[in-house]
Subunit: 234 residues, 2 copies
Amino acid sequence: MSLKVVIYGGCGALGRNIVSHFKSNNHHVTSIDLMSNDAADQNVLIKNLNSWQDQHAEVVDGLGSLLGKQKVDAIFCVAGGWAGGNAASQNYVKNCDMMWKQSVWSSTIAGNLASKFLKQGGLLTLTGAAPALEGTSGMIGYGLAKAAVHQLCKSLSDSSSGLPVNSSVLCIAPVTLDTPMNRKNMPNADFSSWTPLEYISETFLVWAKGEKRPASGSLLKVETASGATTATPV
Amino acid sequence: MSLKVVIYGGCGALGRNIVSHFKSNNHHVTSIDLMSNDAADQNVLIKNLNSWQDQHAEVVDGLGSLLGKQKVDAIFCVAGGWAGGNAASQNYVKNCDMMWKQSVWSSTIAGNLASKFLKQGGLLTLTGAAPALEGTSGMIGYGLAKAAVHQLCKSLSDSSSGLPVNSSVLCIAPVTLDTPMNRKNMPNADFSSWTPLEYISETFLVWAKGEKRPASGSLLKVETASGATTATPV
């Protein structure tokens, strides 16, 4: 059975991996991002970066015009980014603002997309971060945005959240993903403690098929040690 | 000894109570809000509601011009608001945006004010919400913004947050405050289970004097039952 899925952030390192993995398994993929992912079947382009409401309208309209009355099996929100800085940093508020837009705007909009376009029993995933389970003084904007996403997952998993009946909402909280950017920025790290993108993509595929889904609302800490990855509810 | 304090949100119900309480105890109060609080010694007016960075610059400049090189004993961020709605609500993103600006912009800017204007050993308080410790499907934007504030408190309490040495950062998480607006919106509620604003104001005064401060980074659930209020670290 071919699944129909939406990847919000389909041009990031994780997003591209997910798009490719679903395509190589013959599923139908729509990417939402600032640019087109040519590996996807269709793309929604985001142009509005200045207003949360305008970006929301743009994405709803764009996806709606592609899907019509069709519903999708899963929506994966993997949009996000990273920026550091403490409360005294020159770029503190600028980076808080950027992290908010990249992680919180995308995740909340994905929640509304799920209310409109997800099948009953469908799957929505959000992307948090394990470090945000504690304080993150050296990356304050990143941590607070990811903490907001963690709590959003709990809200959206409630039966009165506005999402379709029996849908599952899951939030991954990786420690470190093995991306080209992370390898570039931390060239001397132990890469065997980083989570391969393929692990996330394959896990999402299994969940999208309705298999091995953790309880809706779960926040899953994704850790890798000596090349072995686990996803543990916290 | 007269204390010098800053109240971010000095024109809200809680903010006005704090301003009056500190003034009646002969302390020096600066209010930051959209309008002047005439009970305060001085006011910083916020005009920029459209840009996080511009609002930050406006508040830093305004407070800096009033304080000069003086440092303050405490900064209380009690700005915030409330809006409901689930992920399918018409005003979902609009309300998420409003909640983010009211709670997260103010709290993060207060963090930077603390890095610039707080004395060593001074106090910064933030305002969270007990419901945001769990999912909040009927008020999604409110819950995620308050969850971000809870995590911000942990970040700012770290010794490498950029705040002055030995400062304390505390976040209150009330269940329900006994405000005129809440009485108007919930006229049939049991008011004896709501927290009097005077409790918060007096607690802040005690903490500002350096007395009975919980460990920095604490999130304090503020609950009232039969007219008796407790603040318990969670």
